[in-house]
């Protein structure tokens, strides 16, 4: 009897401790966010989120949170290389020796976003726990950002610029976090361009969509449906898969019942590669064209899908429309090739390059150089400097950031036909390209 009541008492105490810690966490985090979103003027280092002081001789620490392992590692590594090349170019040349910002070295702290909410949370928490991290280039995937990394980093006042997270919700009022920006395009634009391509070039009137429940893919299929239907098309079925699935034959057989003109499957590898492979042998889909997006656009796509990938259309940033074209072709790409021994692994390296440069410019304009050689970077001032970036000429085009977080407001999306795609052939030409601004799309 005595042992039982003692056990009960311990259990109750333990439960109370859990509840108390949970409640106190909520309070401190909500105080932090109101503090940072409220102050837009010149805040001093004693109010949240405070400043980073980089002592003389110490490096400025910039984090990256990209998907550098697993099935999407080409996507993440590609962006990481782009960001590293920007740090290299700080001294004006691509010579594999990093440059400096305001007399301080730059140290990149690389974390993995796992292309998932789990990974985003882990990586963001690790970076946020380091008080010397000035800003973060990341995440690769929308699923790692949305409600996870963007929130965790914003609450600590860490400016985050994503090179490839394209989900519309990340920059929509209500879900946008104040310290979050991106040089990646907004998927409302990409979905609209794919839909236009299907209607204009493929004369499609019926389509089927396949998403994998992640924010990125759902944003695209929703945008595609809205635009496709606005142009008179009809979506015959909308299906969902699990990104770990291997067997799509029953699903494709089912879709074949309606024989749509196009299937839009903007999923990640290996799912989209497997869909391509299994679609090729599904009867009823011989006249159906497969469309994908930049989630598929990395080297593992053709590796897994083999010859059944030929003839699939993949959308993505139009690399040929980069206005930094000469610099991109003659300086950036050769340096990428030389330093990493490969052709670009995916299509967001230039976005990462520009993101890092926007960040560097913002640090240079907002940091205070002290007499003792140290540098004080006020987090709020840094955020404002990034937000006020206007007319910056990057590789991807003119970058002007908005309070919503979108820095690439006028975007050219190209539709490429495999095997003439950016990740296989850097000189690939899109078969269809369209430039849209955010205001023009649904």
């Amino acid at each position: 009897m005595k042992r039982r009541s003692l056990l009960a008492a311990v259990a109750v105490l333990g439960a109370m401790a859990l509840v108390a810690s949970a409640c106190s966490n909520d309070e401190s985090s909500s105080a932090g966010s109101t503090g940072s979103s409220g102050a837009t003027g010149a805040a001093d280092c004693n109010t949240e989120p405070g400043c980073v002081t980089v002592a003389e001789g110490e490096p400025i620490q910039i984090g990256t949170l990209l998907s550098i392992s697993g099935d999407t590692k080409n996507l993440g590594l590609d962006s990481q290389y782009g960001a590293a090349l920007a740090v290299d170019y700080l001294d004006g040349t691509f010579d594999a020796t990093p440059g400096q910002i305001l007399g301080h070295d730059v140290e990149m702290v690389n974390e993995d976003d796992g292309c998932s909410a789990d990974g985003g949370q882990k990586g963001a928490t690790t970076l946020a726990a380091n008080p010397q991290i000035v800003a973060v280039i990341g995440t690769s995937c929308s699923s790692a950002s949305l409600g996870v990394a963007d929130k965790i980093l914003s609450e600590k006042g860490i400016v985050t610029i994503s090179p490839s997270a394209t989900n519309p919700a990340l920059t929509t009022a209500g879900t946008h976090q104040p310290y979050y920006f991106r040089t990646a395009h907004n998927d409302r634009i990409q979905a609209a361009v794919v839909s236009d391509f299907a209607v204009e070039k493929l004369s499609a009137t019926t389509g089927a969509t396949i998403h994998d429940e992640s924010p990125y893919t759902q944003g695209l299929t929703d945008g595609f449906k809205a635009n496709f239907e606005a142009n008179g098309g009809s979506v015959t079925s909308e299906d969902a898969i699990n990104s770990a699935d291997k067997d799509f034959k029953p699903l494709l057989t089912k879709i074949a019942q309606n024989a749509p003109n196009v299937i839009y499957a903007p999923d990640f590898n290996p799912a989209c590669a497997l869909i391509a492979k299994q679609k090729a042998t599904t009867s009823g889909l011989e006249n159906t064209t497969l469309l994908g997006s930049d989630g598929c656009s990395d080297a593992s796509y053709t590796d897994i899908a083999g010859s059944s990938a030929d003839g699939v259309y993949l959308s993505g940033p139009d690399l040929t429309a980069f206005s930094g074209g000469d610099f991109y072709q003659n300086d950036f790409l050769p340096a990428y090739n030389e330093q990493y021994g490969t052709e670009p692994l995916s299509v967001f390296h230039a976005h990462a390059f520009d993101a890092m440069n926007v960040l560097v410019k913002a640090i240079e304009s907002s940091a205070v150089e002290n007499d003792d050689g140290s540098l004080t970077i006020n987090r709020v001032a840094l955020r404002d400097a990034v937000q006020n970036t206007t007319g910056y000429e990057g590789i991807i085009g003119t970058i002007s950031c908005t309070p919503d977080g979108d820095c690439a407001t006028s975007v050219t999306i190209g539709v490429y036909k495999v095997p003439d795609v950016g990740f296989l052939n850097p000189d690939a030409k899109p078969v269809f390209t369209e430039t849209k601004t955010l205001d023009e799309v649904a």
Binding site: D239, P270, T281, G306
Partner: protein, 368 residues
């Protein structure tokens, strides 16, 4: 005889109340049975009576059936590994999914090299033969290693101990492969001989599906002959029946156990190569889900029984492929394909509730 609420006094000395006399377990089971029958029957009925415009033609079902049988054949081969080991050792080898993965992964390196050099398409039969041999070799190696290192020392431990060890071994193998070879999925080439579709009347299927089914059937028949007709097979059945008496009869139990693992490994290796050829990819974590599905299949068919594993695998494969559309199209559940896993594991749960011995089992539960 109502067991609930009976006190130590003689039954006649105390009237049992109505509540105590109710056979609660039987009532719950009956309610559950009726509910399942309604859901399944209702779903199937609604799907088959959809209005003509939405109705799915019989060629669709035939196609799904073939796909399901091919998947089921792979599950059956893996399930045989589970069932053989359980029969001999009364232990669920949870690391068997990784044995399957190892075979597929091992053959991948050869397959990729052959595809690049063109050997795969120039001499497909020779190449396939080598791939199967390599797959079987690697799988068998891992299986024997598992037996020697993880399970033999625990031969006489309480049954829960090797079970947990198996789970640990499974994670160890998964992460080792990830560590050595990376965690990304790799494409597995298919010889052009097996590419393409076959048209039978109105229905057309992937060429690879009937190949998988045929291969699996041949292998399973060979296994059954081995177990029933050869001396080693007889020793296996003897050890499965009663280990101690068998060893008293002069049977080398250790050798029989190793033989069992070898057989299971070979089957898993064949399954691995077939799976890789069908789905075109291998990865360090590919063994996890098929492993659980095959375990379900083995339980469904009656764990410990060879024909049971085969039947269980085929039924489960068909249920996974046909089930979602058959049950859920009629009630307009969006994207029924996503709920395949629900069907697979519901079957597992229901089998364990209603008939833990499986289809070909004895109908009684056996506690670990």
């Amino acid at each position: 005889m109502a067991k609930e609420g009976v006190q130590a006094e003689t039954p006649s000395a105390r009237e049992l109340s109505l509540l105590e006399r109710l056979p609660t377990r039987r009532i719950i089971l009956t309610v559950l049975t009726v509910a399942i029958a309604v859901v399944v029957g209702g779903g199937i009925y609604k799907t088959l009576t959809l209005p003509a415009a939405e109705r799915l033609g019989w060629s669709f079902w035939a196609n799904l059936l073939v796909i399901g049988l091919a998947l089921g054949a792979v599950y059956a081969l893996i399930a045989l590994g589970y069932t053989l080991v359980y029969g001999i050792l009364r232990m669920i080898n949870f690391a068997h999914g990784e044995v399957f993965m190892a075979g597929a992964f091992g053959s991948y390196f050869f397959a990729a090299a052959y595809a690049e050099s063109g050997f795969l398409n120039a001499h497909p039969w020779a190449a396939l033969g080598i791939l199967f041999l390599v797959g079987m070799g690697v799988s068998t190696g891992i299986a024997v290693l598992l037996e020697r290192v993880c399970y033999r020392p625990l031969r006489n431990a309480p049954r829960l101990v090797p079970l947990i060890t198996a789970i640990g071994a499974s994670l160890l193998l998964q992460n080792s492969f990830q560590g050595f070879f990376g965690s990304q999925t790799r494409g597995y080439p298919r010889p052009s001989l097996l590419d393409g579709t076959i048209q039978v009347g109105q229905v057309s299927f992937d060429k690879i599906d009937p190949v998988v089914i045929a291969t699996a059937i041949i292998v399973m028949v060979a296994l059954q002959i081995f177990v029933q007709r050869t001396k080693t097979g007889k020793s296996m059945r003897a050890v499965a029946q009663d280990r101690e008496i068998a060893s008293l009869m002069g049977i080398d139990v250790d050798r029989v156990v190793v033989t069992t693992f070898i057989l299971g490994g070979m089957l898993a290796g064949i399954a691995g190569v077939l799976y890789a050829l069908t789905f075109g990819q291998v990865g360090a974590t590919m063994g996890f889900l098929p492993g659980i599905a095959a375990f379900t299949a083995a339980v469904l068919g009656g764990i410990g029984s060879v024909p049971g594993a085969a039947i269980g695998g085929l039924i489960l494969g068909v249920a996974e492929s046909v089930g979602p559309y058959l049950l859920l199209s009629g009630v307009h559940v969006p994207s029924p394909f996503e709920l395949r896993g629900v069907i697979t594991f519901s079957i597992l749960v229901l089998v364990l509730i209603f008939r833990p011995g499986g289809i070909l089992g004895t109908g009684e539960a056996e506690k670990v």
